[in-house]
Amino acid sequence: MISNSGILAQTTFGTALGAQSTIKPKGGIWKRQITADLLLTSLIDAFSILVIFLLVNFSNAGEILSVTKDMELPKAGAVDLIERTTVVKFTQGKYFLEDKEVNQSELVAALLQARQEWIAGHPQEEFKGIVTIQADRRTKFESLNAIVLAMANTGYSDIRFAVLTQ
């Protein structure tokens, strides 16, 4: 018998579930029992809700862009999903192309090299020319202008400004 050979039946004198059974209540056993097992239904419900919530919120954006402590991205509401593209970051007065520091004067050369590497790595695809710009919200446009100009000079026509979703 399944009910008699169950783990709980073997390890406890009686169960709360058994006592509440509508088919064959075991009130007498329940009254005499010394130990009581936990009602696990609520625990499993809580676990299930947690797992579903975390799975729904799961995002890989953190792997695409790394936001440092000193960088506060601007906020926006009408946004698009982030995609993996070439990332140019401006932080603490320095420019970074894919986490590699480059001087302002070297931005054009670095973007050209990135473009050539992309074309070499994707021979059958058309070059999309997209750059994601990541900067602190207090940055002045004169600092970002160098990136926009370098992009224009190297054939990157699409700019994606990294923002926080409002």
Binding site: S3, F58, S157, I159
Partner: protein, 152 residues
């Protein structure tokens, strides 16, 4: 053969492996969770790309940002837009862009020229990145989806 009359309907599920699996799942998801949601605002280069002859003439809104938050708007290639609405100036509010006024102007322009969907933003050197993004966000929310940014 088992007699149907003796069949028991009460049985206990072994929940221990299930709880173990759920615990592992929760730990993994909590450790890898990204609480900050990063997205992008997609814009185009306002200059370059195609030559003027190749570019299709579409209604266009040029927005010049001033350092104090004031905006100068210039509507081009939009025959339906009356002269009074073609060149506008939106004064700043407390040293910042007056987004309520921007919303109103965008709604007025779209009412007379529904094909207007492109706005090109020309910031100043001292314009803050946050103001530029907020302005783009405001235009996107009000139906101007094709945005461009012009370098200095």
């Amino acid at each position: 053969m088992q007699n149907n009359k003796e069949k028991k309907y009460d049985f206990e599920l072994n929940l221990i492996p299930f709880i173990g699996f759920m615990s592992v799942c929760i730990c993994f998801l909590l450790l890898t969770a990204v609480w900050i949601e990063i997205a992008t605002i997609n814009v185009k280069q306002a200059v370059g790309g195609q030559s003027a002859a190749e570019t299709e003439k579409k209604p266009l809104l040029w927005v010049m940002m001033d350092i104090d938050g004031a905006l100068s708007l210039d509507v081009r290639d939009a025959a339906k837009v009356p002269a009074a609405l073609r060149k506008l100036r939106i004064a700043s509010k407390d040293g910042k862009v007056d987004f309520a006024e921007v919303e109103k102007v965008a709604a007025n322009l779209l009412a007379v020229e529904p094909n207007l969907s492109t706005a090109l933003i020309q910031p100043k050197a001292q314009s803050s990145y946050e103001d530029i993004i907020s302005l783009m966000d405001s235009f996107k929310k009000n139906g101007l989806h094709d945005l461009g940014v012009a370098p200095l």
